[in-house]
């Protein structure tokens, strides 16, 4: 069992790793590791894990590097509808494991959760992404963007890049991109059909428990999204997000080495 920790740039000081208080607690009291034990750290930027020997409960020394699991070639931006707390946390965890690159929570007409999450909630969500990346061997954390209403999220797909807003630029669809909108009322178009031009960027929208309204589907079509079916069985919202994301990445060759 290898233990991996995400560290911020400032926690790496040459060969010396400064673990956070929380990490030091984890190392000492939960994992019961002592000086001399080996763990791995990654900083979300360099594409290697650093092999680290603990020198005391709060510090380690970099002993070498190992390559990380490759990131998906497909840049998958997922727009899941906000869900009740534990379900949305499950979505964040699973999207990190499977390989999403951006996650934008979306408020839809039938969302049971409508108020924008506060900063405390975002901090908790970022911790979930971090922990999921640590466990899944990912070297990069998905970028968590601010929640927005569906219409605004659809419009943003074609927004002009803002020179001072990296996130907005990252989100904007480039020509080789495609937007996919999963809708239980669709019967014809499958995810595979929608990906037949092998896009390198995919924006994927999945609705709340009660589904999208027909107005929302019309709005998605006007925005240029392809409306697809996930099949005859009605998947729960959190299941649909994970299944659709995995199918996109698999179809585009990102669930293989």
């Amino acid at each position: 069992m290898t233990h991996r920790f995400w560290v911020a740039a400032e926690q790496l000081d040459g060969e010396i790793v400064h673990f956070s208080d929380e990490q030091a607690h984890q190392l000492r009291s939960v994992l019961r590791l002592r000086a001399g034990a080996e763990v791995f750290v990654f900083d979300g930027r360099s594409r290697v894990d650093r092999r680290v020997e603990l020198t005391d409960a709060a510090h380690g020394r970099v002993m070498g590097e190992v390559p990380q699991a490759p990131e998906p070639r497909t840049r998958l931006s997922v727009y899941p509808a906000l869900l009740q707390r534990d379900k949305f946390e499950l979505v964040l965890q699973k999207l990190t494991e499977v390989g999403a690159q951006h996650i934008t929570p979306v408020v839809t007409r039938r969302s049971l959760v409508r108020e924008a999450p506060d900063e405390r909630r975002y901090a908790r969500w970022r911790a979930i992404l971090r922990e999921a990346a640590e466990q899944s061997g990912r070297g990069v954390l998905p970028e968590l963007l601010p929640a927005r209403p569906l219409a605004e999220a659809l419009t943003s797909l074609y927004a002009q890049p803002q020179p001072d807003a990296l996130s907005a630029r990252d989100e904007a669809l480039e020509p080789e991109a495609c937007a996919i909108f999963a809708y239980e009322g669709e019967r014809e178009l499958t995810l595979r059909d929608a990906l037949r031009e092998r896009p390198t960027r995919v924006a994927l929208f999945v609705g709340p428990e009660g589904g999208y309204t027909s107005e929302e589907v019309a709005c998605a079509r006007r925005a240029g999204a392809q409306v697809v079916t996930l099949g005859p069985r009605v998947l729960r919202a959190e299941t649909a997000v994970l299944v659709a994301s995995a199918l996109v990445l698999s179809e585009l060759g990102d669930l293989s080495w």
Copy 2:
């Protein structure tokens, strides 16, 4: 919002539906439905939902029939490793939604949960399957088989049909079948490769949190299973089961209408 209820054969008496005490409680106290309200019932055998008008809190009258969502053409038998309680319950729920036909919990070398579940646990698990089928619009409940050790489950794939044991026969692999074993140590063979002969029956094995041991992988190969990768990111056990099942069904055309 439509409400669906699974009913046992004996709850259907001609046109009259006898709801169980639990269902009557649900109808009256949770859903707050009154006489005249419409619900749907299905019995897991006939391929229709019956449209039912409530006559009182515990009874209804069949008013018509509506077709059910089609079942997958692929007969997917999933062999998930036993996991800790909430994770395994999530697996059962998700496998029902996505369309598994048989589920056999498997005890593996690194399973944290090793003792065979008792009858109380099975009753709870069956309730989870039932509720997931009700919600997902499935007309058929997956068959939950007794937990067994991995070696025995692998051997059973090629067992001779037992004339008096329907489950054993259902489980046995027929010639058009294929057994797939998801292993994080595999780098070459993908699920898609493994399905290239378009099997109509698939037995899918997914391991516990700590993964399979190399002895278990060797045992699977000897049993004729194809050992596949789910890609470079390490999926949690419960994620891997759902992702692999959805990929199998999608690849074989069962996540479309």
